[in-house]
């Protein structure tokens, strides 16, 4: 019974595909998986827009949308109809083909990333040997679309927003990759299904997720920072800050193309949270060994929604970082710390099982954090603010 619930989507897919002749079955299986992904994640996106607006509203001591449906739950339907019926304005001096292709490239690249995420036991669309590398390759392709959107609009603010966004995305891409390399070092494989399988064991009640190790916790925090910056999410959302840059690189997009950019940004958030869950939080494995009767896909999606909730929480709570502040943060603090984390991971692996590795690795990481934090604050003069007036 538990097995059936756990594998229910796989069994359903096999039953549906069984109606076709056996020559067509592999293609039909893949197509069914693609259709499932294309239906489920945009539906989650619709739900997340309501949660975000209600959540932000509650954090800011107001209600959020509550007119359309009970507790505002049908708001995304209203938003969808609105964006479909709005006039599609393209500036007359804009570069029309590039302007049209930018949201297309973004959404295609983001959807491709979902193909390698293991969403449950035996529930991967494509089980690739170099799955992690494929995911990062697709993530790198989204930067091209951001640039295309900003440049083709022939608008100084869009171009500025696009340049800032691309610079930010490239800087934090390095951090993202290096913090994932620590996980690859310990699991010895780039395949995401094998990384989840390596975390799916329990010592007593507690799981062997990588976040519960010193290097894993440090790696997860840096991965989360880099993920927030990669998807241009607050506190790193200067490229699309309304008060500074109108709307950044999607200023000149209206109607459904803007909705596609919005969809692309949220789907990128889902897929990067899904990857973080797979790498550090154990993917589809249950948090305690006695909870394994609950289906694996339920755990994956609840961890995903927890990560989204933390993203929304950060957006409502933290102020925005200025462009030079966030670039300094990336190159001068997070990147050296990531390199140190790689060395600590190697130390963890070669010290062998025992209490020594816990003590040494935690001590090195905490000491480095304090020392680097102090060194970074050394040259800031934290005194009363002095103003210079034009003479």
């Amino acid at each position: 019974m538990i097995q059936t619930m756990d594998q229910i989507f796989v069994l359903l897919a096999h039953w549906l595909v069984g109606f076709l002749p056996s020559a067509l079955q592999p293609i039909a299986g893949v197509l069914l998986g693609v259709v499932a992904i294309v239906c489920v994640f945009p539906a989650l996106f619709a739900l997340t827009t309501v949660f975000e607006r209600k959540g932000l509203g509650r954090i800011q001591n107001r209600l959020g949308p509550n007119r359309v449906g009970p507790y505002g739950l049908f708001q995304p339907i209203a938003d969808g109809i609105k964006s479909l019926t709005k006039e599609d304005i393209v500036p007359s001096t804009a570069n029309a083909p590039v302007h049209f292709l930018a949201p297309v490239v973004l959404v295609v690249a983001v959807f491709m990333g979902f193909a390698v995420l293991p969403m449950g036991r035996n529930m991967v669309l494509v089980d690739m040997d170099a799955g992690l590398l494929f995911y990062f390759a697709m993530g790198a392709s989204t930067e091209v679309s951001v640039f295309m959107a900003g440049w083709s609009s022939r608008n100084k603010y869009s171009l500025l927003g696009a340049m800032r966004a691309v610079a930010q995305m490239i800087s934090y891409e390095v951090v993202l990759l290096l913090s994932s390399v620590a996980v690859v070092m310990i699991s010895g494989t780039l395949s995401l299904t094998k990384i989840v399988a390596a975390q799916n064991s329990y010592s007593g009640v507690f799981p062997h997720w990588y976040i519960f190790t010193p290097w894993g916790l440090a790696g997860f925090i840096m991965y989360a920072i880099a993920a927030t910056a990669e998807t241009n999410r607050s506190p790193f959302d200067l490229p699309e800050g309304e008060s500074e840059l109108v709307a950044g690189y999607h200023t000149e997009y209206s109607g459904f193309k803007f909705a596609l950019f919005f969809l692309g940004e949220y789907l990128a958030m889902f897929s990067i949270s899904g990857l973080g869950t797979t790498l550090f939080l154990g993917g589809w494995s249950a948090p305690f060994s006695f909870l394994q009767f609950i289906p694996s896909w339920f755990w994956f999606f609840s961890k995903l929604m927890m990560s989204i909730f933390v993203f929304i929480w950060m957006r409502g709570t933290l102020p925005r970082l200025r462009q030079d502040q966030l670039m300094n943060f990336a190159w001068k603090f997070v990147l050296p710390f990531t390199l140190l984390n790689l060395m600590v991971t190697a130390l963890w692996r070669f010290l062998g099982v025992g209490w020594e590795r816990w003590v040494f690795c935690s001590a090195i990481l905490i000491a480095a954090y304090i020392v680097m934090g102090r060194a970074g604050m050394y040259r800031e003069n934290f005194g009363p603010r002095r103003y210079r007036y034009a003479e």
């Binding site: 930067e143 490239i170 780039l190």
Partner: protein
Amino acid sequence: MSLVFYLLSALAVAGALSAVLLKNTVHCALALTVAFAGLALLFLELDAQFAGFAQILVYIGAVAILIVFAILLTRGSETPKDGVYSRNWLAGLVIAAAVFAVLGWAVLQSAWTLPHETAVPAVTVHDIGVALVGRYVLPLEIVALLLTAATIGAVIVARHEKEEAK
């Protein structure tokens, strides 16, 4: 020489041709990105997964962006007034044809010297890793040294600009 190979090579060649024939420089850079994507797909068609994905990650994710930044930050982005084709295009064509002939001859000559393999060797990422720190460790260290020199150079260039501005 399957249909997939012809389609992918058509994509790569079309991208490369557009990169030299289009008028708008940024369009040329984007067409070059398409050519990079075609090359990556050719690698994937040959079952070289690591090479294909690394091509996308490095070329499309970093090199294409670098090219585009270079175009935008210099003054070459406007379309030149007297056309993009130079006056001695015939000499250029002859030289390009000569280079192509030499490269083609070299490639076709070397095809006979390869051992006749019956099965396609499956190269996994693990094999690449073992080769990099085993047989090819000297080239790896030299490339690392080159990257370090480039990073130090970038820091020095940026630092001098800051001091001059002061």
